[in-house]
Symmetry: C2
Subunit: 268 residues, 2 copies
Amino acid sequence: MLVNGSPSNVISIRDRGFLYGDGVFRTLRVTNGQAQHWLLHYQKLQQDCAAIAIACPDFALLTAELENLLRNQTDCAIKLIVTRGISTRGYAPSTKTTPTHIWDVAPLPDYPAAWATHGIKARLCQLCLSQQPRLAGIKHLNRLENVLAAGEWNDAEIAEGLLMDTDGNVIEGVRSNLFSVLNGTLVTPSLLACGVAGVQRERVIGWANSNKVPLEIRAMSWDEVINADELFIVNSLNGVWPIRELEQRHWKEFTMTRRVQLELGEMQ
Amino acid sequence: MLVNGSPSNVISIRDRGFLYGDGVFRTLRVTNGQAQHWLLHYQKLQQDCAAIAIACPDFALLTAELENLLRNQTDCAIKLIVTRGISTRGYAPSTKTTPTHIWDVAPLPDYPAAWATHGIKARLCQLCLSQQPRLAGIKHLNRLENVLAAGEWNDAEIAEGLLMDTDGNVIEGVRSNLFSVLNGTLVTPSLLACGVAGVQRERVIGWANSNKVPLEIRAMSWDEVINADELFIVNSLNGVWPIRELEQRHWKEFTMTRRVQLELGEMQ
């Protein structure tokens, strides 16, 4: 672990990241000593910092730290957290605060290989995401909704829970973005009111655009999701996972999902 | 500062309070070496912990630590934070996690005495609170909305910003609860969809009930607020502050507000 470039596994109890969740983060997969899609992650970090007016640490600085961290790593998960830093009492952010940045290295989660090939079992969460356009899309540190949703089940066979918002739109998974295939068109929920816009979601969107695969980003109802021809979820650690079971529905054909997995190289 | 009973000003970067804002807190005023309304604060802490299934530290343990901390203090602000603690990777909370509890002592904020006597200038924030019934009322560590709202102004003459929710109901101040007087009735916004239910709000409600002052807890529109006969805000550090100016409206009579200040002993 590194805190502001120095080996440490602690932060101040007055860091605003702790007091208010006043910060953003990225989770990266490291494969064969390489941080996957680091540039895309940095760009998202930069956007997310800008959205809540945190000064994003320099690309060259973070890249040098990352390379240093990876010197003795082959495969692992790396978390990068940037907070607004330590300030005087109170919610009001100060422009004088120096951001804190933290790297944390952990083993990759050990999921069954069949989840990528044969698909996962998913469920619908009871918790509904609140709508906050000012924070929508941002991977910020206010993640209590995800904690509550993830706490709804403890059946290890269920790999993911899907989340609707308070208006009944399906938004994402607890730790993934969602895609569906409807009559040959890729459809993914718009994240204008809530949800986290991940790097893998962006990669799938970019791939579809480059390959002239029809793609729509829009509100999705539960009916559309449960009646989709295919469903898959994506995130940076696990790549692309088909959904084979969701509530009472089962899927066996993953034609488009396979194509996405292969062409994006995301068959983890 | 104390972390889990020992002198420290740091926590693990893997504490869920930091990673996800997975925790709750209280802010107490200490006057003449006495923590004001400690029992009420503990009860709220217990309720908030229960609402997100964190095991609340024992009352006797916390009281002993608090008394120890206050041995050399006269007037100060004390923050008590309880997080779910350190767990393995991922959002899902584990029942095996031991909560972390933190005490932080800081000087009292130095506000003009006239704010309690002559009232404050307040504004309406642009940020609208999201609606999440599962977290409504809880003083949890996901406070980015408060940070964004507090960042909307830097005029030191403006003591507080009022917040509406995404449906246009007035809910609270950035760091206070709101009361209005409408034809002799105290009206305070209901906090079923968002907002933080503070100890001073509860004290005012209790006082009104005991003294047969008519009180309503319900949705409040901006029109009602701006046309109220009196407005006041309450929090644990500052007690009761009348609002003398809000956007274009000015108030000069604070009859009910004075009564609340005097009878609750909250003329800080």
